[in-house]
């Protein structure tokens, strides 16, 4: 594979541009997805009947269908009711909505794992439900959720590669372009694969460190 390193040197800059797009999409989706996911998780635990039903329905719908179908639906389907979106925006929306549904379940689990007695104690002191949730439940739940939740950012980074299907010029798309122009498909995709590998490894390590930094003592009882 002597040609591989020459190849790499030539085309790495192009792939790098694609990586930037990937990372931009990813960070946007993570931000939106986490906030929405937290909101959905809270809705499932504390919401009234209609809120609960709506969020549960949404989560079931998203988790029961493939991401690719969701992206195609958003990009090709929405224009039919008048919503025209650029590929990047469409992909970001679909990815954000998708990760939110999965994160919601992680958050819900963590919130429910906090003993109800602590909430009762908080209410007994006179705190409102919102105060109890924000000062007692969330600080603990957000710490507990990290091990499981850490899967999401990594998955999202990998699944962002699907966006090339609707023309987003991210890493995968660039690799494809290079492949078509040089016919050296194997090299192009191997290079892309290695970049993804590096990115996910760095991400996984960082999340692991975050988990260590943020944990308090072992949960009482």
């Amino acid at each position: 594979m002597t040609g591989f390193f020459e190849f790499a040197r030539t085309y790495l800059p192009v792939l790098f541009e694609g990586t930037i797009v990937t990372l931009e999409m990813w960070s946007g989706c993570m931000l939106v997805g986490t906030i929405l996911g937290l909101f959905l998780g809270l809705s499932r635990v504390y919401g009234n009947k209609p809120v609960f039903v709506l969020s549960s329905g949404y989560i079931e719908l998203i988790r029961g269908t493939p991401l690719l179908a969701q992206i195609l639906f958003v990009y090709f389907g929405l224009p039919e009711i008048g919503i025209l979106l650029t590929p990047v925006v469409a992909a970001s929306i679909a990815l954000g909505l998708n990760t939110a549904a999965y994160q919601a379940e992680y958050f819900r689990g963590a919130i429910q794992s906090i003993e109800a007695g602590q909430v009762e104690a908080a209410r007994s002191l006179g705190m409102t439900q919102i105060q109890a949730i924000s000062s007692i439940v969330l600080p603990q739940a957000l710490r507990r959720v990290i091990p499981q939740w850490s899967n999401e950012p990594i998955l999202l980074l990998k699944y962002s590669s699907i966006a090339f299907v609707i023309g987003v010029p991210e890493l995968m798309a660039r690799a494809q372009m290079i492949g078509y122009s040089t016919f050296r498909f194997f090299d192009a995709f191997l290079l892309a694969a290695l970049i993804y590998l590096i990115l996910t490894t760095i991400l996984a390590q960082s999340l692991h460190t975050l988990e260590k930094r943020v944990s308090i003592l072992p949960k009482s009882k």
Partner: protein, 252 residues
């Protein structure tokens, strides 16, 4: 006007009627203990008093304000009612000091620094100043329960409800909690305690209420009720307790 007035309270869980018309009153400084077989609604009764549960029928007043009125803002009354749980329910992510002070900060709007000073005083009162920086997971059950009492005290309540405060504790840790409770009683706090600690009753209780099958069967001063109960059921229950718990621990 009584500090606490309970009027004809009924509560059912599904088909099971747990409270069948309970009524009693408490004045400032009263120490009353509720005893009775498990599952007869003692905890339920206590939880109705601060609104954690709502009775199906009947009314409850704390210092003239009706707790059971849906229009009442329950969050305004709760600071006046201290509640000590069987399982302590300390906030796991906070130190003892923060556990005690958080109510002052969030509910009474105090500055954190002021709240901490008050919290330290309460921790001192229960004998745990040196544990101020410890987390619940680092403390024994008895220490956790004392912190939870300090937490209730910090709010400067008009009365404190104790829901089987020592039932979840190892035997050798019960004494330290009872001592705190007795000191509180002697200091004039109004206390309603659900417990089977007869020693505590003898030491400081003004009245014992025997709750069985959802009703108050008998009430009386410890000196009378414990030695010479009027009803058969009371007698049977007291015999059972004494058999189970051996000699009453006299912690006076």
């Amino acid at each position: 006007m009584s500090l606490l007035k309970v009027d004809d309270v009924y509560k059912a869980y599904g088909d099971l009627l747990v409270l069948k018309g309970v009524s009693f009153q408490m004045e400032k400084g009263d120490i009353k203990v509720i005893i009775g077989p498990s599952g007869t609604g003692k905890s339920t009764l206590l939880r109705c008093l601060n609104g954690l549960t709502s009775p199906d029928k009947g009314k409850i007043w704390i210092d003239g304000i009706e707790v059971t009125d849906p229009k009442t803002n329950i969050n305004k009354i709760r600071p006046d009612i201290g509640f000590v749980f069987q399982n302590f329910n300390l906030f796991a992510h906070l130190t003892a000091l923060d556990n005690v002070s958080i109510g002052l900060v969030k509910v009474k709007g105090m500055k954190k620094s002021e709240a901490r000073v008050l919290a330290m005083e309460e921790l001192h009162r229960v004998g745990l100043e040196e544990k101020a920086g410890s987390y619940p997971a680092e403390m024994s059950g008895g220490q956790q329960q004392r912190v939870s009492i300090a937490r209730a005290l910090a709010m400067n309540p008009k009365l404190i409800l104790f829901d089987e405060p020592t039932s979840a504790l190892d035997p050798e840790l019960i004494g330290e909690v009872l001592k705190v409770m007795i000191d509180l009683a002697k200091g004039g706090m109004t206390m309603l305690v659900v417990s089977h600690e007869i020693g505590f009753c003898r030491a400081v209780a003004d009245e014992i209420l025997f709750l069985d099958e959802g009703k108050i069967i008998e009430k009386g001063h410890p000196s009378e009720l414990l030695t010479n109960p009027s009803y058969q059921r009371t007698k049977e229950f007291l015999n059972k307790i004494i058999k189970l718990y051996g000699e009453e621990r006299d912690k006076a």
